[in-house]
Symmetry: C2
Subunit: 315 residues, 2 copies
């Protein structure tokens, strides 16, 4: 068993992460806005700010606090990669399992919500993740989740009072940002808010086909549809257009982050919004999201569906 | 998109399952005990009954109610397999994804808690599951979960009052029943209570090495250790002996099902037991289990760790 030596690696990783966090927070502390909580990850949906004007928005991004967002420097990502058990010369479990096995374990652990918050795909798993999301496995995984979701939706007993609801996340749930990530290392690169916002503002994210079919079926079954996204109000227009031009129509509400939500984790923000739905008399029977923070927390759905996403993590 | 035709397959599957359940429940209804709830799965841990005498117990198993346990006949398992999207002549997505991809999706969906309750590994995935659990991937997955668990345990702030607790499930979490499942299709065969009880009563289940190391570390860190298992009180002696002879020592409490728990789902039973722990002043900081029913429900742990298990499902 190599876990004790791995423990040493982990300690080094944690120290590296703390150091990185301290370095990143130091300038933030000098800004007028309150210091964001430490949450070492890079959630794309939460990256943009309130301003609807893109140029203003880009300028503001360095002034406004960035909730949940701390970029991990490449060094930390590399440390994370060697922590995973391979790559580096001093790798411990490298002899025990080949990289492909280790990276499959990493991806499975992520999908089962076993990992601590992470900021980038471990360097040694960049190729594994690229092959996964561009290959048949990702599509197959998405289709099976949609099949299970649809079977559950069909079997659900609706109240007939128009109060049965299904919650959908947007990014990597209904719309795919794969074209963006294809140009940026599929999650292995340092997250770039400016470039991601430019991508979002193009409004060209394609539908995930199996999700579109599920969406239509859930709607036809009579569910109220709530789209609950980490995107901000500033991106409402482009998000509506993107959803519409990809075939998503007739949702009941599109909920985006407002200023007051900016410091909240996605888990907190989305739990609060689900609680509001319940307070309005809705019964949340289904919830589809690619992040556990879409699904866990309070006011949880009767049943949740976790779509695969090995490219980024949002707390 | 083939989901509509798959929908037809699903309908046939559901009808088959309902028919199978009706056939299985029909004789049960004639028994003196109340009819068990319909819960189409075959949980090994819950299979045995109260009697400590093995012979008596085996006789009783056909008289006492079997909570949660409805064996799926092979026909249903086959239907489930073709529902998965392949195998059969009229398979829809068979052309789209090869069986290996479909079975990997099935296993991932199971680990991410996306599947409806299932009673047996789909026939077309029997080889996939066998290769997984007997190969490096399963060990690697187990080790990574243990590493993440240990890192979390080390970072946790203990109160110093002896009230910080870690909950471990037993089967497929601390002890492995792989030798038994190796003789019985790795979850693809119809579950046989008699034979599984005989295996349990031999007390020869080996430790999962990474779990044993985690167990020791968690204990040394000062956590109170609660073993919370679906095994029944009738198996207390053999379970204690098996755990001890595999290196698990000094737990604080071993909680097994009593008669009053027999009709409860594992989720309900384990939630109630966690609630009792909280009522006694314990803070449950960690929880390790191979079933989502070990982890979800109420009085949930601050953080949960899902060990892989593609061989059976317990609601």
């Amino acid at each position: 068993m190599a876990r004790h030596r791995r423990g040493g690696d982990l300690l080094r990783l944690l120290l590296t992460l703390l150091l990185a966090a301290a370095l990143l927070l130091a300038p933030a502390a000098a800004e007028p806005e309150p210091e964001p909580e430490v949450a070492p990850t890079a959630p794309p949906q939460d990256a943009s700010e309130e301003a609807s004007d893109a140029a203003t928005q880009h300028q503001q991004q360095h002034i406004l606090p960035r909730p949940l967002v701390i970029e991990l420097p490449s060094a930390a990502a590399t440390a994370a990669a060697s922590e995973l058990g391979g790559g580096g010369e001093d790798s411990v479990s490298g002899d025990e399992f080949p990289p492909e096995v280790r990276c499959a374990s990493w991806r499975l652990a992520s999908e089962a919500n076993n990992l601590a918050p992470w900021g980038a795909v471990p360097a040694e798993c960049a190729a594994h993740v690229r092959e996964y999301v561009t290959g048949a496995a990702y599509r197959s995984d998405l289709e099976l989740v949609a099949m299970e979701s649809a079977a559950y939706a069909r079997a659900a007993q609706l109240g007939g009072d128009g109060r049965d609801a299904w919650v959908f996340d947007v990014d990597e749930t209904l719309l795919s940002n794969l074209p963006y990530y294809a140009d940026h290392g599929f999650g292995a690169e340092l997250f770039d808010h400016h470039k991601f916002d430019e991508w979002v503002e193009r409004g060209e994210a394609p539908a995930i086909p199996s999700s579109l079919q599920l969406y239509k079926e859930v709607r036809e079954l009579g569910f109220k549809i709530f789209l609950l996204t980490g995107r901000t109000e500033g991106h409402r227009g482009v998000t509506v257009d993107n959803l519409e031009n990809q075939g998503f129509h007739d949702w009941d509400k599109l909920i985006l982050r407002v200023a007051a939500d900016r410091k909240k984790t996605a888990t907190t923000y989305k739990s609060e919004k689900r609680k509001e739905m319940e307070a309005e008399g809705y019964r949340i029977l289904g919830n589809s999201g690619d992040q556990w923070s879409d699904l866990l927390g309070s006011s949880m759905s009767a049943r949740s569906f976790k779509l695969p996403n090995p490219m980024y993590y949002i707390p």
